[in-house]
Amino acid sequence: MKQSVTVNQPAEAKWLRVIRTFFTKVNIKKPTFNLSSFLKKVGIPLVSIAVFIGIWHLGAEALKQREINFRIEKTLTDQGESAAAALKACFASNESTCQTNTLPSPSQVWSSILTLIADHYVIKQDKEAFAEKTAAVNAKREAAGKEPIVYTGRPSFVDIVITSLKTVFAGFLLAFFIAVPIGIVIGLSDKLRNAFNWFIQIFKPVSPVVWYLLVFMIVKTLLIGTSTDNSFVISFISVGLCAMWATLVNTAVGVSTVDKDYINVAKVLKLGPLQKVFKVILPSSLPLIFTGLRITLSVAWMVLIAIELLAQSPGLGLFVWEEFQNGANDSNSKIIVAMFVIGIIGFLLDRFMLTIQNMVSFNKSEGI
């Protein structure tokens, strides 16, 4: 009994230590309320947000007025005074047939957010109803070895965001599994680095659109005759290939520039080649690798929009493009909503990676 206690203790201490270091790294402190610093940290951003929305509102109003004036004047010269008066009244009554097609005002965007959320619940109910209705049929089909009937209706905005996130994570993982191993191998060997250098230098600056086309050519042929979701596969592969270069280069640089002191330590301790890589070279290049991964994730999120648009993958990119093409009254404000959602998610992803990066990084002077 006594022995088991002594055996368990160090494990628990280590576990606690990990949590403690996590919290010190993330820097969570007990909140202490201080009015002036509270005003500085919360008040100033709130004021700047209000100013931003105000300027946006005024700008949107000015643009709207300019379009209305132009259209009334044009009607006046083309169709006469009565038609112009009718149009003016129509604009004033704010009917859905008489809407401007310009930058939407903040209130329009807000109502679009509400519409999109309400829309999500409607579609969700729709889906549930569909699932209920087809449950019996699907069970039969599955028993007969056929594929079940799936919901093919319009995706809601939340579905769209989730598709985009899935694509980005799949692409990011692909980039991770390609770039990190290759980067390590290249970083370890001068010869391989020279052999791969031209390849990296040429393909790194290639635009996402071209990557998409290349992946399209290959994947389309590979997946001929299968029922796999082509657009998803193509878009995540393109995103991964576009975004992996930062990680590849950073890993190679990190591995090839490990501090000589650490290499000397490895030599004096007589570590084997594998141990040298895993115990000394990789840990010491982790900070650079994670810097690369952070850039990769933000690049992936940026190119995603263009690639989804081209690949017709039902994510945010396609959403923005379709809204633009469709030209309904609230299309413009939905595009702005998508813009904010893209921005906020991008920011959160970057913050997430920054936290991890801070956890693994160390200062070179710390060991010396």
Binding site: Y262, N264, V265, K267, L269, K270, S284, N363, G367, I368
Partner: protein, 280 residues
């Protein structure tokens, strides 16, 4: 037979016209259990000499014999304490020492490794900091971890490359005593490279000055045969200590002067007059 022997060692860096000979004609032999200090100016090739002995570098010509056998590459028989502590910053004190323990006792289990690591960490008085990362330690504590790591490899000989160079005077004195204590316990052979003559006299049995490079070579040795354990205050009043110290410093200074006078080339300046832009 000498424990460690350097025979006619030459070391050059670079190739062709850019060759610089850093060390030339180094001959040294150290007996088992001896504490030898090599004293030299900064940049005189001390670190190169250390790296030749511990196997990180190969001599251009000449050979390093360890226990009568030519030494090839690094080995845990020759433990090194580096000038900068070279701890791995992502590992805790214990993990840093464990790396060395695993090397010295590869076949033992985890429990043995942990016990040994704890033993060496206790030896340098760092048990309370066993789970700390190097960045949480002071310079002196870091160097003690480096000492523990070097000792944990169970070296037959311990090579110290200016181990206390970056520390303040008080910590320095403390660590000197600790190293002497540990050395005194099992009388391992030790080689100390330093730029501090007093440190050399306090710690070593023999002091050998390194004439500054390029073409650095070892000068005549000075025997230090004070009783151990030595006391710093007593040493200061000891006339023999003063004499030895002055002799070593004088020797080093003389080389410095010699080198300066060697470099007094005369340059012939071209006979030029400043051009006048004023039209006469």
């Amino acid at each position: 037979m000498a424990y460690l022997e350097l025979k006619n060692i030459y070391k050059t860096y670079g190739e062709g016209e850019n060759t610089t000979e850093v060390l030339s004609d180094i001959n040294l032999s150290i007996e088992e259990g001896e504490f030898v200090a090599i004293v030299g100016f900064t940049g005189s090739g001390k670190t190169t000499l250390v790296n030749l002995i511990n196997g990180l570098l190969e001599p251009t010509s000449g050979e390093v014999l360890f226990k009568g056998e030519p030494a090839k590459g690094t080995s845990h028989e020759r433990g090194v304490i580096f000038q900068n502590y070279s701890l791995l910053p992502w590992l805790s004190v214990e993990q840093n020492v464990l790396m060395a323990v695993k090397e010295a006792f590869p076949k033992r289990g985890k429990a043995v490794w942990k016990r040994k690591a704890a033993h060496y960490i206790e030896m340098v008085g760092l048990t309370p900091a066993i789970n700390k990362l190097p960045k949480e330690l002071s310079g002196g504590m870091r160097q003690r971890v480096a000492v523990a790591r070097a000792l944990a490899m169970k070296p037959d000989m311990i090579i110290m490359d200016e181990p206390l160079g970056a520390l303040d005077a008080l910590t320095r004195g403390n660590l000197q005593d600790q190293i002497l204590n540990i050395w005194g316990k099992d009388k391992r052979t030790a080689l100390l490279i330093t730029n501090d003559v007093d440190e050399g006299i306090y710690m070593a049995d023999r002091i050998i000055p390194l004439r500054p490079g390029p073409n650095a070579t070892l000068g005549p040795e000075f025997k230090i045969d004070f009783e151990r354990p030595r006391d710093k205050t007593d040493l200061n009043d000891n006339p023999v200590y003063k004499k030895t110290r002055n002799a070593i410093i004088e020797y080093l200074m003389d080389i410095g002067e010699e080198r300066k006078s060697e470099q007094q080339n005369t340059y012939v300046l071209p006979d030029l007059m400043p051009k006048s832009f004023v039209r006469v």
